[in-house]
């Protein structure tokens, strides 16, 4: 899978990246190893030792912050990717510049570690706070199909406790500030009239999606325009057609009554690890069809979608 190299992908949650053990992630077909150096800075290199192509993620993080390949012990600096040490070579520890692993750009904000395959790309700014509810799932579904499922029927990929997504949109998918934005009517679960006969919907789910990365902000609102739930969903295309989804969520204003109490349970948002294939197959591409056209238009436009602004 070929991807634009200037995109910033939220490939890990901050707490997943440690100095104890390297973390293996992918951006499309590109394997990436992440770790935190001795200054606590997240680092990203190609997950491939340039010596004998073994995954660096099978190695370890040394006390000096270098990542060490577990095969022959070559150690690399995270910032530059330069080879710093070969064990036993006591007489020579300076190596030509070509002795390096590919280093990637890293930016850590709002509880996500974002990686850009272009190490010189400018990191995006995010004003988001760090949400406390978190999770990671790997879904056997392509990145675009995953986003299409989210557009056409969010229940295929997420669940919000006590909330049912209706097929009725309050605002169809449209471009707004370089993002793909839509708003879907929702109902409280489980007691309600069928959505076909409902005059007023008590809830809406607002989604704002980056047209290239698919990183999506979710906001659940009640009919008084209170934000009940905020979440960020970050799907990243991974190896073998899998989509790795990292997410963070936070409760907003407390909705009164039993329904609000149910929503405020231990973890109000669930991101599903599997998609029901029979439902997916028969789900009409009502939003996504339009979305594909809109996305193509935005990506062709010079100042909107190619803007590297993340879901901010």
């Amino acid at each position: 899978m070929s991807l634009a190299t200037d995109l910033w992908w939220a490939v890990a949650r901050s707490e997943e990246v440690t100095s104890k053990k390297p973390l293996s992630v992918d951006i499309g077909d590109q394997p990436v190893v992440l770790w935190r150096d001795n200054q606590g800075i997240a680092r990203a290199l190609e997950d491939r030792c340039p010596h004998r192509r073994a995954p660096l993620s099978l190695g370890c993080v040394r006390d000096n912050g270098l990542i060490q390949c577990g095969y022959h012990g070559w150690s690399y600096d995270g910032e530059t990717g330069r080879l710093k040490e070969i064990p036993n070579m006591k007489d020579q520890q300076k190596f030509p510049p070509i002795y390096k692993a590919n280093a990637f750009g890293v930016s850590e904000q709002a509880g996500f570690v974002r990686v850009c395959l272009n190490p010189k790309a400018e990191a995006p700014l995010s004003a988001d706070p760090k949400y406390t509810y978190v999770g990671t799932v790997n879904v056997s579904c392509s990145h675009q199909e995953y986003l299409n499922a989210l557009y056409d029927d969010p229940a295929l990929v997420i669940a919000i406790r006590g909330v049912r997504f209706s097929p009725y949109l309050m605002a169809e998918l449209h471009e707004e500030g370089g993002m793909l934005v839509m708003e879907r009517n929702c109902q409280w679960n489980p007691l309600h009239w069928p959505s076909h006969f409902v005059a007023e919907f008590p809830l809406t789910l607002l989604t704002r999606t980056h047209p290239s990365t698919g990183e999506t902000q979710l906001t659940l609102r009640d009919d008084q325009f209170n934000d009940l739930l905020h979440a960020v969903l970050s799907p990243v295309p991974s190896a073998r057609g899998v989509t790795a989804v990292r997410w963070r969520a936070e409760m907003g204003v407390r909705h009164p009554g039993v329904r609000g109490a149910i929503l405020r349970g231990i973890n109000p948002l669930s991101v599903l690890a599997t998609i029901d294939g029979s439902k997916l197959r028969t789900t009409k591409p009502t939003v996504s069809l339009h979305g594909e056209d809109l996305r193509a238009t935005m990506l062709d436009a010079p100042h909107s979608a190619q803007d590297q602004t993340q879901a901010a």
């Binding site: 340039p50 010596h51 192509r53 099978l58 022959h72 012990g73 080879l83 036993n88 070579m89 070509i98």
Partner: protein
Amino acid sequence: MLEVADRPVSPDDNAPASTGGSPIAMNVVNRWVPHNIVMLDSWFPVAHDYSVSGKPVRRAIYSHPIFLWRDNGVAVASEFHPNERIARDKSAHTDARGRYPVMEHYGVVWVWLGNPLAADPRHLPSLPFLPPQGGLPRHMTATVRFESSAPISLENLIDLTHADFLHADVVGDERSDSETVETYYDSETVTMVRTCVNKSVAPVMKFFSGIKQPTQNVRQVIRIYLRSHCAIAYGRFSPGDDVPLFHPCTPETRDRTRMEMVMNTSNAGRMFRHVMPKAGYKVSRQDSYMTSPQSPRYMRHTDRKDLHSKFDQAGQRYRMAMMELAERQAKGDFAYRDNVSDDCSEIIGLRKELFQF
């Protein structure tokens, strides 16, 4: 301090020592696609002799089916199962009855893959630390598999610096006062000799041979027979034991490898004699941890060059020698230019007094 030497076994006066007269230059080691290398006209070790009985067992070399059984005590290797209703053509590697040339030696059943008329016991690799007629106890043998191509496994073996990391809990870490690596080669073999002074003592010897000293002097030899994908791994530890290992890497498929290993620990103490061969199960899993993900990354050619250190000289020589041999075979030249069955005791530094048969 490390010193490295790379020289042909029989120096060619007309060739510079750095290339050994090889038609394949050193820089082509980066065109290494081991999965594309298929060796023919060679004896491959396929089974321990005790594994072959009246009931057929199945093996493979490069996916060619091999069924082994005994007929009146004599090993038979056929490309067809005796109960098979034959619905496929016979290969060119077998005789009119579909039988491969087969022989038993060193307690191992060897099958010849290639032109059956060229099969000759003179092309059997020399393994001077194993009794020619077999007979070592079973606890000195094991069968393990690698999910990688055979050349990847052998390249892994010939660079012993990997052992200091992957197998530190068995053979000790990388610390030593000095280290010397020498590589010898001819058209059929590559031999690497690594000498370490005051190396961290191997934990397995500390615990099972009662070595009290913190360090030991180590001389390790890896000798690879290119066509057969067989290796000798011979370690001499002082204080400690002599541990010669027959380390075949039979390419059952181009990306799966079978090892019918034999470790002759007859001269070691009782505990070590029984425990050390079993370490092969652990060590092979540790190797697989790296070679399994590594192997697919060598399946296709890439323009990106591997980086090398001076420790990799033997591995580079192995790549070159394999590519050279494969190139010769591709041109129809299957001749042995060097004799692999000549006693290699001197080359590997075998203490013959310990291995009299």
